[in-house]
Amino acid sequence: MKSTWPAITFFALAALGPVLVRDAFLLDSLILILLWGATAAAWNVAGGYAGQVSLGHAAFFGLGAYSAALLGTKWDLSPWIGLLVGAVLATACGFIIGFLSNRLRGPYFVLATIAFSQVFLIVASRWRGFTSGSEGIPVPFRPGFWTLGITDKRVWVVIVLVLAVSVYLVELYLERSRRGYQLAAVREDEDAALSLGVPARRLKVAAIAVSAALTAVAGALWAQYVGFVDPFYVFSVDLSVRFALAAILGGIGTPLGPFLGAALILMLETYLRARFGGIGAGLVGIYLIIYGTALILMVRFAPQGLVPLIGERVRRRPVAGAGS
């Protein structure tokens, strides 16, 4: 599926959403699909394209969320500035993490990223004086675009759509540019790539930094949209797994895959909420059991994800295959 038509259709449909749909629930779903899709796609930049599979991306998401929320509540600054600060901080952290764990591969890298995100979780939940600790931060609602106090969900669709398309374009760049090819070479065989003069270390670190910055932007927007930042949620390993799962489900290393994966997860979540509504902890449990089972089955039977699977189906049919 080298064609961009499915992606153009997907984003065009999303853009039509605010024009055609007035239902707040559907618009909310659309916003969340685009937002979680963008975070999964941002994860994909490091985990899919650079092969740096991380289970600590919640650290960057939380960094963005906290930057926007703290700058807003402490210094009365616009969340847009918070978003920018969060992105800069996450880039810096991405550089540090990428640089420090550069030698690590496979499970070692995964463990290192989990440890990093846990450090953030502990600092955010214990540093009561600055982050108000485990209670979390309610984000004050200040009406206006500059303060992101927006009640109209259609405006939110546009904002997250811009983010989603930006992340998609980054992925597309990695898919088609010289740098992207080099990165793929590093992912497939680092030693061989090094011997050909590919700056493997620099590329990997840069991929993690970019991925971190994009994740932080999503985190900042999420904090403003939801209105509350809970350290045990934004820095949790579960959230990191969610980013990874959406990318794996849709197709790791494919540009549109993470968005499809995010859409699928949200649909599952919504369906279960409607099906078992009102059970509380039981509902979350059942949802997560299905989610965990899906993860196990997915990596066993279709480790490449759904996009390549669908792509193969389409290509097998001679008529439809001509387009891709």
Partner: protein, 293 residues
């Protein structure tokens, strides 16, 4: 400095328990090259087993301990057959996400079945305290330590002298060669997984009288076990043992000096430090981290 004996005793007691959790984890990694992210959930299941045996059958946790051995081993074997066997030859990433998925499933099965409330195993000797010199310690802690040391020693002896242990070590050293020598590596993996799970399950039963039991109870311990396992050198059983004591010392002394709230940061920083400076750990082979095996 009257606190020093207390700190030393606490370190050793805590280190013994951590060691039992860590050796199971490192054994699985050493032989199968799989990092088991569901390790903490097996610990949690062990804790619940002790809790339910105590609540429903009035069984003392230490009686449960003996009775649970075949049960935990069987559960480990079953989980290998159902979940791990199909991915045993897959890439690291597939294995990582399989065990992460298993961890999510087990955690939430516990949540749905038994709710998120903390449960307690209150034995009649719950408040009994033992004095060694100036140090004071809980009886349950002492028993847990003694049994953990016994189990760890038994595992070491098993790996060192038994035929099966030798077969497992041979598989750990060279899978292909072991296969060529007629070793059924599939069975070795199943056995390794089940033994590793049994170790951590036993640790869970031992911890139940000391710590509250809830669906995510395994998390805090498994993080420590990961630190110990990496510090000791992934796959190195003796390393895991020494590292467990070091981690316990960091935790105990850290809690005393800077307070319990920040102790986790200490061992996480220690963890990151090791990964950066010497990812192979104390006893591991240098360069293992770069091959990713």
């Amino acid at each position: 400095m009257h606190v020093i004996p207390q700190l030393v005793v606490s370190t050793i007691l805590l280190g013994g328990i951590y060691a039992l959790i860590a050796v199971g984890l490192t054994l699985i990694f050493g032989v199968m090259r799989v990092v088991n992210f569901a390790h903490g959930e097996f610990l949690m299941l062990g804790m619940y087993l002790a809790f339910w045996a105590f609540a429903l059958l009035r069984l003392d946790p230490y009686v449960t301990l003996v009775l649970s051995l075949p049960l935990v081993f069987g559960f480990g074997w079953l989980s290998y057959r159902m979940v791990m066997r199909p991915v045993i030859h897959s890439s690291h990433n597939v294995q990582v996400f399989t065990t992460v998925g298993l961890s999510i499933v087990l955690q939430n099965v516990a949540l749905v079945l038994w709710s998120a409330d903390s449960q307690f195993v209150r034995t009649s000797y719950y408040t009994v305290v033992v004095r060694i010199g100036t140090a004071v310690l809980n009886l349950a802690q002492l028993i847990a330590f003694a049994v953990a040391v016994l189990c760890t020693a038994a595992l070491f002896a098993f790996m060192r002298w038994s035929y099966t242990g030798k077969v497992m070590r041979a598989t750990a050293q060279d899978r292909a060669a072991a296969s060529l020598m007629g070793i059924d590596t599939g069975r070795v993996f199943a056995l390794t997984w089940a033994v590793g799970v049994t170790c951590v399950g036993v640790a869970g039963v031992l911890l139940a009288p000391i710590y509250p039991v809830y669906p995510t109870a395994g998390l805090q311990f498994v993080l420590i076990a990961f630190v110990a396992v990496v510090l000791g050198g992934l796959g190195e059983m003796a390393g895991a043992l020494i590292a467990s004591l070091i981690v316990a010392a960091v935790e105990v002394v850290g809690s005393y000096v800077i307070g319990t709230a920040w102790k986790e940061v200490l061992y996480l920083l220690l963890f990151i430090g090791i990964l950066v400076v010497r990812p192979a750990g104390l006893l591991g082979q240098r360069g293992a981290e770069a091959i990713g095996t």
